[in-house]
Symmetry: C2
Subunit: 204 residues, 2 copies
């Protein structure tokens, strides 16, 4: 694509670096911004630069936060001794949206994946172990993606905590609501049989 | 969507104002930027702010340009007496990509549309008339979208130029390449019959 201005070309190229945005969409977005008021565009670019430079992470759970402690950790009405362990903040948002969880979180910042060069020392695992010890945590709920990396991470953390009286659980894996048995993979269907529930539990 | 940081929320809201980007995509883009280097994000936001505040328009054709005259108007190998009239710079880019046109452009900056409150005085029509007069333009090719507003705009400009010896044409309207006759609307099919071409023209 030939553009008549290097300023325009620069902005388009920067937009096109974002995931899922190609050159044509980038041009559409840039031309949209060009029609907006200069002050509005300034607000847009400032919001992004400020977010990147000033954002903080909660000292306790490593969720994104404006203060030293995030709103969830600072909320005394939430069960501070029940920690849900997640990979990233997107998972926190997804679980918060269910409105089914009233404990606190711990964001690992990734998952153990030797093939991608991610080892336990790059994740917030030591901080989690410290937290379990210091805060006398009663339950650790793992909400990691159900794959080899997720299972490895659970296994690794579990071994580090084996001497502590903390209950360790993981979110249920099974057939998704609205899913169809015949299309489920064997692994999922097999696990959902092994971990079958009494019907009274299911209906609750 | 509940977010744990007002900085994050602000950035997501700004992204979600862009056309075709909803809250979920905005969050994905913002979290992507959060993982990038701070200097790269600064480059991104600067490119956008700079583009909006410093961009210039060609004094002759109102195309986007870094200098007073755009590259196309400043190019002496292009036919300066053949002007293609378009609605916006996206159309310039589309026509340039065909590599079939060697004249210059005039960007109207919109199209006459009383329902949207756009009258001729808001467009660069007077400048076009002046240009035709001063530069002894030989041909004006209208490349506007084929609808009522486009036709109104052509009609309006044509009347302003009726005393000048300038040839006025419009791009051909007909069945698109690869299109199928049975799915064409009556208007298009009717016009393509009225404006039928001798086969020798077509093959050229």
């Amino acid at each position: 694509m030939q553009l008549s201005s290097s300023l325009l070309e620069n902005a388009v190229n920067e937009f096109a670096k974002l995931p899922g945005i190609g050159k044509k969409s980038a041009l559409r977005l840039v031309l949209h911004l060009l029609k907006e008021e200069e002050s509005d565009v300034k607000k847009f670019s400032d919001a992004i630069a400020k977010m990147r430079s000033e954002i903080k992470y909660c000292k306790k759970c490593f969720n994104i936060s404006d203060a030293d402690l995030c709103d969830i950790c600072a909320n005394i009405s939430r069960k501070q001794k029940q920690i849900c362990v997640v990979e990233n903040i997107r998972d926190v948002i997804a679980i918060e949206n269910t409105q089914q969880f009233n404990g606190v979180y711990h964001v690992l910042g990734g998952i153990i994946s030797p093939l991608d060069g991610v080892g336990p020392e790059q994740l917030h695992i030591d901080e989690l172990v410290q937290r379990v010890k210091n805060d006398e945590v009663e339950e650790l709920i793992f909400a990691l993606n159900p794959n080899i990396q997720g299972d490895t991470t659970i296994f690794y953390i579990q071994r580090k905590l084996q001497d502590l009286p903390c209950k360790i659980t993981t979110i249920a894996r099974g057939i998704a609501f609205g899913g169809e048995l015949e299309y489920a993979d064997e692994m999922t269907l097999g696990r959902s049989l092994t971990n079958r529930l009494p019907v009274e539990n299911y209906v609750k």
